[in-house]
Amino acid sequence: MKLSSQQRPPKCLIVIGASTGGTRVLAQILDRLPLLESAVLIVQHMPKFINDSLVRTLGQHSRAPVRLARHNERTEEGVVYLAPSDVHCQLSTNSILKLVEGPRVNYVCPAIDVTMSSVSAPFPGQRLVGVLLTGMGKDGAQGLAHMKRLGALTIAQDRASCTVYGMPGEAVKLGCVDHELPPEGIARALTTVGLRMMPEPPPRTSAGLSVV
């Protein structure tokens, strides 16, 4: 039985972690991304009272719709999800979002480490990408290392473009980063790996001709 695109895990799962200064970088990356056959999950450390406004702000920069992640929601390709504040955001079977209450990890909730560490081995043909952007502390480094062990492409924002090089620097120290890139380079890499979404082909007639 063939699963529809809404039933199977996304062809590509991109998890992006960001903290201090991350909002501006996320905007720069989303500005440059075409629609992708990827589900994009962003974990940005932020106070709860700006959850909705950050969804709206990022939505103004994104071709894909941006939504606040909801518990038990199945991720879809071509959608950007933002993890809400004050709960950890995990992925079940690389496709279903789970919002879980729990203590702070690395002083933060949601923790990027918790999200990235919940990623499981890719399904056949599925691509995994982990990205760690500017931020204080070390959250996300262990999670990115976990994704690397699963075969994910791992990217850290480069030192020169970081507001604070803490989190990406910790990941580099762990030796789990494939590429260190500025925001525009990250967007290019995601466009390549994240599978650009092609327009639906026109429907065909019974004679096999395309209807124009």
Binding site: R24, M46, I50, Y107, C109
Partner: protein, 123 residues
């Protein structure tokens, strides 16, 4: 109204930042210390806070820690302004800092950072 508090012990930095941001449409509150910042927050303030790290007495990280412990962060986005990268003294404050501006900074850097914070403050 777009509200912004500048917390810096150096008068010329407060003054030049204030002039620039007032032109950009912000209502500015200037205070010269972490203690004065906390007093202003306890009285009433919601908006963007540009918080200098290196101040005599209660420094920027200490001020931010007090803000967090006294639940004074609600409704505010804090942008740290400093000449150095964060060290151990910022540990535990990872999700309290919206953005970070290294001195010396350009007008463009300041306005860009503040505009992003302002966009996130209002639905």
């Amino acid at each position: 109204m777009k509200k912004l508090m500048i917390v810096d012990d150096e008068y010329h930095i407060r003054h030049t930042s204030s002039l620039l941001l007032e032109k950009a449409g912000y209502e500015i509150v200037e205070v010269e210390s972490g203690v004065a910042c906390l007093e202003r927050l306890r009285a009433s303030f919601e908006g963007i806070i540009l918080l200098d790290v290196s101040m005599p007495g209660l420094d920027g990280w200490g001020t931010l820690r007090r803000m967090r412990d006294e639940n004074l962060l609600a409704g505010n986005l804090v942008c740290m302004v400093t000449g150095t990268i964060p060290g151990e003294d910022s540990s535990g404050l990872e999700d309290c800092v919206f953005d970070y501006l290294l001195k010396p900074f350009s007008r463009h850097d300041l306005l860009n950072m503040v505009a992003t914070a302002q966009a996130c403050l209002h639905v």
